[in-house]
């Protein structure tokens, strides 16, 4: 079986132009990253701000081209710098961003937000688009009455549901989730994570899940990749990475994650009393 997404040695450099007093320089945002994700699986990418995880998301979503390296979607080579982007390719990969307050156009109704990808990428008729948007609203746990409302009438969790619905309108194979739950409350986070799991089961979706929250990653991921300064310092199955981290940065990351279990509280209180 070919992987839905395969990356071979992806590199992305950004050129910072110089000026009279400053020399031009090159930022190596992603330095040769390789991975593969099978259908229905979730790859989690973990790392701190500035480690290149969002740059990688932009490459995978075909927003930016890679400077070098190969990317294969469904076994087909994709190079948007050379071939441009077709609507067929765009339909295969969709993205959900971190901040649901910033990604929905405040002047558009939810129904129009959901129909827009269809208008751009398909030749569906208006009533078909409407039916599909209605059906998708129900799939993500919203109601038909929400079709004519504006984004400001929704809570953060509901907006993230709308953003997920919009990403699913084109029936993609691969969904890139760039920190989809880090702006949400704990209970809402649980609801959205459950929704993502339900949708993955129903549509056999493949996820690339970008996060800095290790407890969420441990819950949702099949494979985990840890990035540090543009390099993948650790890549393996969830069990491998969490039970036996090899790279020192991964160990630091695990040690830094606050633990909410009774034993670690007891240990801390004992240290404090001593």
């Amino acid at each position: 079986m070919t992987a839905v997404l395969e990356a071979r040695n992806l590199v992305r450099d950004y050129h910072i132009p110089g000026s009279l007093l400053k020399r031009a320089r090159i930022v190596h945002a992603v330095k040769g990253v390789s991975f593969a994700v099978d259908q229905g699986k979730t790859l989690a990418i973990v790392g701190e701000s500035g480690c290149g995880k969002s740059t990688l998301a932009r490459i995978v979503t075909m927003i930016d081209p890679a400077t070098s390296g190969e990317m294969l979607i469904d076994g087909e080579k994709v190079d948007i710098a050379r071939d441009g982007l077709t609507s067929e390719m765009r339909r295969k990969v969709q993205i959900v961003f971190q901040n649901p307050y910033g990604t929905l156009n405040p002047r558009k109704k939810i129904g129009d937000i959901l129909s827009e990808p269809l208008i751009i990428n398909t030749r569906m008729k208006a009533d078909e688009r409407r039916d599909m948007a209605m059906a998708m609203l129900k799939k993500v746990g919203l109601e038909e009455k929400h079709y004519g409302r504006y984004p400001h009438m929704f809570s953060g969790g509901q907006r993230q549901r709308v953003a997920i619905a919009r990403a699913l309108m084109l029936n993609p194979r691969l969904l890139v989730l760039d920190e989809p739950v880090s702006a949400l409350d704990l209970s809402v986070q649980a609801q959205v994570l459950n929704l993502l799991a339900d949708l993955q089961d129903e549509f056999q979706l493949t996820y690339v899940f970008i996060s800095h929250d290790l407890s969420v990653v441990r819950y949702i991921a099949d494979d985990v990749m840890v990035m540090y300064y543009g390099e993948a310092v650790e890549y393996g199955s969830r069990e491998e990475v969490f039970s036996d981290p090899k790279h020192s940065y991964t160990k630091t990351l695990f040690a830094a994650t606050p633990r909410a279990d009774v034993d670690s509280i007891k240990a801390r209180l004992a240290r404090k009393a001593a």
Binding site: P258, A260, K266, K272
Partner: protein, 284 residues
């Protein structure tokens, strides 16, 4: 005697659709050298209750309380100029967004020296020496050089250290940290929390940490208050809260942690709790 004592605090905002009650009868106490965590989801009134105690809310807010005392002094009946002498000096606050809470137009050195000038009346040389000392205390490298930097030249973690330095500049008795690490990376979060806890125990400060992160609570607090929709749901010491939570809401909140996931779906609060059930076990 407790440092901060709040009884039956109510905060109401006048809105177009009538008054909105953001905080509904919350009581709390913080003792010297104690770390109290206030946990809750957005809209639970955890930030608003602390802003009310400090008198930082806009005039549209109506604050009432049976008792609002800091160190035995009544905060409620105070004029705003009297209050300003305490707030920023004896009670200090750290906010969530370090980069947004510093003024982008002034150097960080100016901003820390401003506090020293207003509250302690130090002269120029003494201010500079104290600012350098404070930057060293919070672990900013090259403190003398850093004083002339602007907030945008520093990273989020460094800006939060500057905020902590400003908050600590007058040796406050009570430090209120409102989501101090939410905007930061995990490794930086660890450093900032360690720093706060070290300074808290060294100076014997009372401290209130407002957060929604159960991990942060577990790592820092002595005592915890759980809030929901402006009401106090539960108050317990940290160990018994995690070991044997009394209210259904706290249990639901803890089971929604991905750490505690047992099946392949997480339990969610709305699924098995209505507002009535949550408030049924509420304490005063």
């Amino acid at each position: 005697m407790s440092l901060l004592e709040v009884e039956n605090l109510v905060v109401e905002f006048q809105t177009a659709s009538g008054p909105f009650r953001a905080v509904n009868g919350v009581s709390l106490k913080v003792n010297e050298g104690e770390v109290l965590a206030i946990v809750g989801e957005s809209g639970s009134g955890k930030s608003v209750s602390m802003l009310a105690a400090m008198g930082l809310l806009p005039w549209t807010a109506k604050v009432t309380a049976d008792k609002l005392q800091f160190n035995g002094i009544d905060l409620l009946g105070m004029s705003s100029s009297e209050r300003r002498r305490i707030v920023g000096k004896d009670i200090a606050m750290i906010f969530q967004e370090p980069i947004a809470s510093l003024n982008p137009c002034f150097t960080v050195g100016f901003q820390i020296e401003e506090v020293l000038r207003l509250h302690l009346g130090l002269d120029k040389a003494a201010r500079r020496a104290r600012a350098i000392e404070l930057f060293e205390l919070v672990g900013i490298p090259n403190p003398a050089e850093r004083l002339s930097h602007f907030p945008h030249q520093m990273s989020g973690g460094q800006c939060q250290r500057v905020m902590i330095a400003i908050a600590l500049s007058c040796n406050p008795k009570l430090l209120i940290a409102d989501e101090p690490t939410t905007a930061l990376d995990v490794t930086i979060q660890k450093q900032i929390l360690d720093l706060l806890m070290r300074l808290q125990s060294e100076h014997g400060m009372g401290m209130i940490i407002i957060t929604h992160n159960m991990g942060v609570v577990a790592e820092t607090a002595d005592r915890v208050i759980v809030q929901y929709k402006g009401r106090k749901i539960e108050e317990a010491d940290v160990l018994s809260l995690f070991e044997s939570p009394k209210s259904a809401y706290t249990r639901a909140l803890l089971s929604a942690l991905p750490d505690n996931a047992t099946g392949d779906r997480l339990p969610t609060i709305a699924e098995f709790l209505s507002d009535d059930q949550i408030f049924a076990g509420a304490v005063r």
